[in-house]
């Protein structure tokens, strides 16, 4: 929403975006429908196949969804393709980047807009509980929902903060998306951060069951928060996330998206060690309807 207001103020006539899970694509298509602006969403072919409900939502909202067939055909390639569109059509086009990556000022701008999550959660928590939470937990792909939650709490030293990356099939298998846990510093998409890369500086393909976490980089501010030690970055595997997807659905009546199911893994790890009146604030950053086909396939269920 913030970015499209900026686009309008800049006099841009056309909106483009990249998307992994389709959440950002749907959000962008929604605001474009609201303001009557043409919208093109770049999405990896692999992600289109596993996020059909969101693809259909975007189309219903009037967006054109362009399949990206280069590279690993996931989020990073969608970002490359959107950047290519943008440099070609920069006169009339605004690129709404969906994560805290990309060149400056995107990481800062997206963080500031996403911080409504943390601002609001902090205010609600103070109102409902009269105190701050003991711990924050959020999942990270590019890291926008996490930075949005974390940012207003960074100066509250008593609040422990956990970011959960996708460990895919396990960090040791090499098939994961945990750039902070297992990557090294490099430069991609206009920022210096932790990347999954080989010894030649070539970007390696990320893997996660969750399309929204399937990115070989991480927002540069997370790299900084890791290095200064303010946030503890951990990871959760596909299997662990699936387990929490089912558990949360059954216990809470909430079907979480596969992305925040990774965050719930960390909630389940730390909760038993906390006092009964401890408070954990987890960001349930997406709903799981979009993932039921992927989950059914992973669980061997035929729909």
């Amino acid at each position: 929403m913030g970015q499209i207001l900026l686009a309008r103020r800049m006099g841009k006539k056309r909106i483009i975006a990249e998307t992994g899970a389709g959440q950002h694509g749907v959000a962008t298509a929604t605001v474009c429908a609201l303001f009557g602006m043409p919208c093109v969403v770049y999405m990896g072919e692999v992600d289109i196949a596993r996020q059909q409900p969101n693809v259909f939502r975007m189309k219903l909202l009037g967006a054109e969804v362009v399949p990206v067939t280069s590279g690993s055909r996931t989020l990073k390639d969608a970002l490359n393709e959107a950047l290519r569109d943008w440099v070609t059509n920069v006169e009339d086009t605004y690129y709404i980047i969906g994560t805290v990556a990309g060149p400056h000022p995107y990481p800062m701008m997206v963080r500031d807009f996403q911080s409504v999550i943390g601002e609001e959660a902090r205010a609600q928590m103070l109102e409902a509980e009269g105190r701050l939470p003991d711990a924050l937990v959020a999942c990270l792909g590019g890291g926008s929902n996490a930075i949005g939650l974390f940012h207003p709490f960074l100066d509250d030293e008593e609040v422990r903060i956990y970011g959960v990356e996708a460990a895919g099939r396990g960090i040791e298998t090499g098939e994961h998306a945990a750039s902070l846990t297992a990557g090294s510093p490099g430069v991609l998409h206009g920022n210096r951060t932790y990347l999954l890369q080989d010894e030649e500086g070539q970007i390696t393909e990320a893997h996660s069951i969750s399309a929204g976490l399937d990115y070989p980089g991480i927002g540069p501010e997370h790299a900084w928060l890791k290095d200064v030690g303010r946030v503890e970055y951990v990871s959760a595997t596909d299997d662990e996330a699936l387990e929490m997807f089912e558990l949360c659905s059954r216990l809470e009546g909430i079907i979480p998206a596969l992305e925040p199911a990774h965050a719930l893994v960390q909630v389940a790890r730390i909760a038993p060690e906390m006092p009964k009146d401890g408070i954990i604030l987890a960001n349930l950053c997406g709903r799981g309807d979009k993932d039921i086909f992927t989950v059914a396939e992973a669980l061997g269920v035929t729909l």
């Binding site: 280069s70 590279g71 990073k76 390639d77 490359n80 950047l83 290519r84 440099v87 070609t88 059509n89 920069v90 006169e91 490099g186 430069v187 991609l188 998409h189 206009g190 990347l195 890369q197 010894e199 030649e200 500086g201 070539q202 970007i203």
Partner: protein
């Protein structure tokens, strides 16, 4: 700081082109495309085919500024096992035969950063590299590689585009040396070209900001187009058309057909013919 723009093969080449009264042909190939042996043969044949300056693309998995042709070339090269060390070896090999044709390495920052900036500059100079084009290092990051490169005597060539306005141009030009690479369109490599009239206005604007030679690229595919560009600029850059010719000589499994090298060099010779006849 050594003034690299006053020494070096690049400025000597542009001076001799000026004496000959013609524009130059800058050819781009991707290192290791389709494999190391073929790419090296092409490289060794370029000066004889009429290339005045040579750009060698350092392959990268995520080439954000490149269109499908050069993306595919980079992936072919990486699949064939191309590394930074091999790319530098290609330049060393060329320098055994050719001491005069300038070589510019072009690519993205991460493979250089991971190789190590200081080590990279040392090895590049020793191999015989004259200039660098690093697409994703803007002037704001000159401390990273541009200034160390200039200090070491390697030209750092910057891209200017139609959206680089008069306010921005001085900043882009400040530490640019060798030549200015004018990207004649907004967009990625391998797309349609701009008209000579538009390019003429743009080069006139650039000359108000810089005395450096101007090479114009993006969208130049034919001898006629190259000729038209060299009537208004100091050199024409051809990339995607050459890389496409490599691709056209691969079989269904991506293996080079016999005659690939000769066919690519024949295209370069045609382009060179166009450039040489342009101002005649």
């Amino acid at each position: 700081m050594k003034d690299a723009s006053c020494a070096g093969r690049i400025s000597r080449r542009f001076e001799s082109l000026a004496r000959e009264g013609r524009g130059g042909l800058v050819t781009f190939i991707t290192a290791g495309d389709p494999d190391l042996d073929r790419a090296t043969e092409i490289l060794l044949g370029l000066p004889g085919a009429g290339a005045d300056l040579i750009e060698i693309g350092m392959p990268f998995t995520d080439p954000m500024a490149d269109g499908p042709s050069i993306q595919a070339a980079g992936l072919r090269a990486l699949a064939s096992g191309q590394t930074m060390a091999r790319t530098l070896d290609m330049v060393r090999r060329l320098r055994r035969d050719d001491r005069d044709t300038p070589v510019i390495l072009m690519g993205y920052y991460n493979p250089i950063y991971i190789y190590g900036n200081e080590r990279f500059l040392g090895d590049a100079i020793e191999a015989g590299v004259d200039g660098l084009i690093v697409v994703d290092l803007p002037p704001e990051e000159d401390d990273e590689l541009c200034l160390p490169a200039l200090e070491a005597g390697v030209n750092f060539i910057r891209l200017a585009t139609p959206t680089t306005d008069d306010e921005r141009l001085p900043r882009v030009m400040r530490n640019t040396s060798g030549f200015v690479y004018y990207v004649s369109i907004t967009g990625i490599t391998g797309t349609k070209g701009a008209t000579a009239e538009v390019v003429g206005q743009a080069t006139a604007r650039l000359r108000r900001h810089s005395k450096l030679p101007i090479a114009v690229g993006f969208g130049i595919r034919t001898p006629d187009q190259a000729a038209a560009i060299t009537r208004i600029a100091d050199a024409a850059v051809v990339g995607s058309a050459i890389v496409d010719r490599v691709a056209a000589n691969l079989d269904e499994t991506g293996v080079a057909r016999p005659g690939l090298v000769e066919d690519v060099l024949a295209l370069v010779a045609e382009l060179a013919g166009g450039v040489r006849a342009a101002r005649g």
